[in-house]
């Protein structure tokens, strides 16, 4: 099946070409990888990315600040109401729990088999809301502490129950678990607030929340596209405080204007006359609460959020564009890096058959006991093995280059690089099959070169044109209609996008490329076996 002297002959005749192509291509990939890995790729892109990140973070800080403020506003208003009531109630109870009316009643009810919540309901049944709250707190206190201890301790208990409610609300709203420092902050602040004379809830919250935010957000980090983004890289604690404070002020202003409008409108209505002060305030508060969410969204909108969705997406895509994937994956491994191997394949496949038939030297091979199928098989093997050796060296060079610049930020891993090289090999293998078929089919070099070379070059040029419409180019600058060219070339079956994205689409396409190569080689072999040779 295999003719050693013919193989030797082919090696001698084509070695220089092979060496030249292999060396140049290896140098090229080494240069591309080393340059990309060491020099700054794109400073504009980097600064755009930083702007977008910092803007998104700022928007998040604002959003959470305003949400937390709204919660604080509500919680603190409520709690300062019942704080007074509870404080009075606690102080009015005797120190000895055993003699306390409420406790005695509670214990009796529990002893008679009623559940805790049922018992509480019974006890508070005909009391006002605030009284009920106070009693419930008292029972809680009794259950936790047993005896009533110092008044200071009682006050601490009350404050801590308020703090817990507040931080629970915060956690529920989505701000991550408050840290220890934050809790201490909240405790201290609320303590001050509750004991101060000038109790303006809103001013208080306006001070408290930015403090909390700067604590919480400063240690915050988020993972995006395999990269960890630390808030502390973009904002100082003071900057977070400023942002938070300003957003709350804007929120308060907006809500104040809204409230004024609501009052104006309300005063026009008929119901206004029929309601009490309290009822009117409640009505307005209910109306206001519906505006909360909308206002927060409006005031915390990021840059991208203000743009139409399509534009925001394409901007993000532009900023996140994988330069390495584009240059190494698409530009090199599908175009620039394939060019020389394709030229090698065009020239050598002609040299192996058509050229020798054309100039008559094939007569010497076939004048010996060498079957035609042996000739084609040997030449086929030479072409394939020389290509394999070429790409093996290319693979080694690319992997070594990757090691040299590791840490330089190239986002392509070693397994991906191996797959890229494999894909390139299979692509050139398929093209070599086509050129080999042309060489076996025609008896004249000019046709073998013209058809084989023409088809190969056509595929390459269409790939170049198709690149402009492909998904490796960000949508902002992509020319979508150019994607049609990708349907006219088999190089499209080399799916570098899939390899770099980690999906498996490339696998079956590799199979198709291998199949194209095998089938064309086979047809070439059969044709050469059967045709007349003008030797």
């Amino acid at each position: 099946m295999f003719s050693k002297p013919l193989f030797k002959q082919s090696c001698k005749a084509n070695f220089i070409t092979w060496l030249f192509v292999t060396v140049i291509t290896c140098i090229m990939i080494a240069m591309v990888i080393i340059i990309l890995g060491t020099l700054k790729v794109n400073s504009v892109q980097t600064s755009m990315m930083n702007i977008l990140i910092s803007d998104t973070l700022e928007s998040t800080i604002e959003e959470y600040s305003m949400k937390s403020y709204a919660i604080a506003d509500t919680t603190l208003k409520e709690s300062s109401k019942y704080y007074e009531e509870a404080k009075e109630f606690f102080e009015s109870q005797s120190a000895n729990m055993e003699e306390n009316e409420v406790i005695i009643e509670y214990n009796e009810l529990i002893a008679s088999g009623i559940t805790d919540s049922e018992a509480r309901n019974q006890i508070t049944s005909n009391k006002s809301e605030l009284e009920a709250l106070a009693i419930n707190l008292f029972i809680d206190y009794y259950l936790i502490h047993g005896d009533m201890e110092s008044s200071e301790e009682t006050i601490n208990f009350l404050i801590s129950s308020i703090v817990h409610k507040f931080s629970d609300d915060l956690i529920q709203s989505g701000v991550s678990e408050t840290t220890q420092t934050t809790l201490e902050l909240i405790v201290a602040s609320i303590d001050d607030y509750l004991n101060s004379t000038n109790k303006n809830v809103q001013d208080f919250a306006n001070q408290l929340i930015p403090n909390i935010m700067s604590e919480v957000f400063y240690s915050f980090s988020v993972v995006q596209n395999d990269k960890t983004i630390y808030v502390s890289d973009y904002f100082t604690k003071d900057a977070i405080y400023e942002t938070s404070y300003t957003s709350i002020v804007s929120y308060r202003a907006q809500m104040a204007i809204r409230e004024e409008k609501l009052w104006e409108e309300f005063q026009q209505t008929s119901e206004y006359e029929t309601m009490t002060e309290e009822e009117r305030q409640e009505y307005i508060d209910n109306q206001l609460s519906e505006y909360e969410e909308v206002t927060i969204i409006n005031l915390s909108e990021s840059l991208l959020g203000q743009l139409p969705e399509a534009i925001a997406n394409s901007l993000t895509e532009l900023v996140e564009m994988d330069v390495y994937g584009l240059v190494i994956g698409s530009l090199f491994y599908k175009i620039a890096g394939l060019l020389l191997p394709i030229i090698y394949v065009i020239m050598v496949s002609n040299n192996l058959l058509a050229s020798q038939v054309d100039n008559g030297s094939m007569a010497y091979v076939l004048s010996t006991p060498t079957k035609r199928s042996k000739v084609t098989f040997t030449q086929m093997s030479f072409l394939t093995l020389s290509l394999f050796a070429m790409f093996a060296l290319l693979t080694i060079t690319s992997v070594i280059s990757l090691f040299i610049v590791s840490g330089g930020g190239i986002s392509i891993s070693i397994p991906q690089m191996l797959l890229l090289n494999l894909g390139a090999f299979l692509t050139v293998f398929a093209l070599s099959g086509i050129c080999f078929l042309a060489s076996s089919w025609f008896n004249q070099s000019k046709y073998a070169l013209g058809i084989g070379g023409g088809i190969s070059m056509f595929f390459l040029v269409t790939t170049i044109l198709g690149l402009f419409g492909s998904s490796s180019i960000p949508q902002a600058i992509r020319i979508e209609s150019m994607n049609y060219f990708n349907y006219f070339t088999i190089i499209t079956l080399f799916d570098t996008t899939s390899i770099l994205a980690g999906t498996l689409d490339y696998l079956w396409k590799f199979g198709v490329l291998a199949l194209i190569g095998l089938i064309t080689y086979l047809i070439g072999m059969i044709k050469f076996n059967k045709k007349d040779l003008p030797l």
Partner: protein
């Protein structure tokens, strides 16, 4: 079954070009020559024997093996000198010969070396820069070095100087003596006459005539050109009872055809005359074929 059989071989290229119903039987050890005008189909016939082209109908067998179906197998027996020498891409003559030796699975290079020295070939010369004669010699070495049983030659002595042609013919004769079967095409009738047992004429793809060289040698007649000193002698001789086929009075020359048996008679007659010169028009293969072609038209 003969050694080489060509049975109703037809290769039709259209426009009346090709080979048409060729039938030939060649015995082992026989030397067959093939003549014909350019384009008559000689090379096509050799290509069929070499298995380069597939016959339209008919076949050729060597040792009962079909030359198209069992082309590679048959090559064990064959040495070939093509009409146009085209060497593969190798550096020097010796590199080419060594490579061919490998293709032919030759174990020893001694035969090649002896032929190389016989033909005085410089094998270190660059293949690309060789003269036609050097290329021819290299091709001849390649053909004979494997001591083939069948030698196929397409115009083998073109490009060889007369001295080298002699050496080559000696080589060929030696091979024939050792039992080789030879098929060769040539335009040089003398060498065909020297080597071949039979010579075939191919015209427009058809085998027109095949003649054995011994028949030529046994031709019973001789032709002489006799020129006389003066017109008187010339005119006188014209009266003699000899078969005069041509006469030129300006140079006092007659051309006569005489049976071999009659030569003593001629010579004794000529004693009476004063001659300028006496030359023989040898009866050759060429003459035979020329007469044949004339008869055809």
């Amino acid at each position: 079954m003969d050694y080489i059989e060509i049975n109703h071989l037809t290769k039709d290229y259209g426009n009346n070009i090709g080979l048409f119903d060729i039938n030939l039987r060649i015995k082992q050890g026989e030397a067959l020559g093939i003549v014909g005008a350019n384009g008559a189909g000689k090379t096509t016939l050799l290509r069929c024997i070499m298995g380069f082209i597939k016959p339209t109908t008919g076949n050729i067998t060597i040792e009962q093996k079909d030359t198209w179906l069992k082309s590679a197998e048959v090559k064990h027996l064959i040495g070939y000198v093509p009409g146009e020498i085209a060497f593969p891409e190798l550096r020097s003559g010796i590199e080419f010969l060594k490579s061919q030796a490998e293709f032919l699975r030759l174990k020893y290079f001694t035969d090649a070396n002896s032929i190389i020295s016989t033909l005085k070939l410089d094998t270190s010369a660059n293949l690309r820069r060789m003269s036609k004669g050097m290329k021819q010699k290299t091709a001849i070495v390649e053909c004979f070095m494997s001591k083939p049983k069948i030698i196929i030659l397409d115009e083998p002595s073109t490009g060889l100087d007369p001295l080298m042609r002699e050496s080559f013919l000696k080589l060929l004769k030696q091979a024939k003596q050792n039992g080789a079967t030879i098929i060769m095409t040539s335009h040089l009738f003398e060498e065909l006459e020297e080597i071949c047992d039979r010579v075939a004429l191919i015209e427009q793809g058809k085998l027109k005539e095949i003649v054995s060289t011994s028949k030529i040698k046994r031709y019973p007649y001789r032709e002489y050109n006799i020129s006389f000193k003066d017109q008187k002698e010339y005119l006188s001789f014209c009266q003699e009872p000899f078969d005069i086929i041509d006469a030129d009075v300006d140079i006092n020359q007659v051309t006569i055809k005489v049976n071999k048996k009659n030569i003593p008679n001629l010579l004794s007659t000529l004693k009476k005359y004063n001659l300028s010169y006496l030359t023989e028009n040898k009866y050759t293969l060429e003459k035979y074929f020329n007469e044949f072609v004339k008869k055809e038209s």
